[in-house]
Symmetry: C2
Subunit: 118 residues, 2 copies
């Protein structure tokens, strides 16, 4: 499962950072439904185009989306691999958490102040 660790951490940095903004999450949620040009993506938001383009740039540099310009139209698409890779980090932590054998002991520890035994 450890393929190319070189910049794995940096890649997670930028992906999670990209995901930390509601505008960018909304763009991703839109692209999950299908590709779209910049103008259509920008429409729901009140900010100016230059601001919006910055968000797209953050998404593209994180690898979560890819874009291609044809004529005067730039079309954006989701990169599901990067989305999956990001989810995988969280899934792995949850798997470790769920696999712990000492959670019962911890439950007892958390409740030891309540005199259920002594």
């Amino acid at each position: 499962m450890v393929f190319h660790m070189e910049n794995y951490s940096a890649s997670l940095d930028s992906s999670f950072h990209a995901l930390s903004d509601p505008t960018r999450r909304a763009v991703l949620a839109r692209l999950v439904l299908g590709n779209a040009p910049v103008k259509e993506l920008a429409e729901p938001f009140e900010m100016g185009l230059p601001s919006f383009m910055k968000h797209l740039k953050v998404l593209e540099e994180s690898g979560l989306i890819e874009t291609e310009k044809k004529g005067r139209v730039r079309t954006c698409r989701l990169n599901s691999k990067q989305l999956a890779a990001t989810e995988a980090w969280l899934a792995e932590q949850r798997a470790i958490w769920e696999g712990r054998t000492d959670r019962l002991a911890e439950y007892v520890e958390a409740n030891q102040s309540k005199g259920s035994l002594s």
Copy 2:
């Protein structure tokens, strides 16, 4: 699945932001293994305690961890619910992506420049 949407987006903002830093992810990965006091958590990192405490604060304000001070020791523990809630957003996007019925059409579109048909 939509329980209390009020600050759902803001909660994701802060969780993803907390996850976007390698120090904070390392702290989470440690806490997945079990609770720990601040000093033990801080040990692997070269930064000063004040800097490290800022990271802990970001994690705590995101809800990903909880802390409790007993005597002079502050113990930290993972909040698995917040971790799961964050993962859930990504899982939902993937589910939508995987459930799309038009991805074959898109595959064709992506490969139409290669003259496999015409």
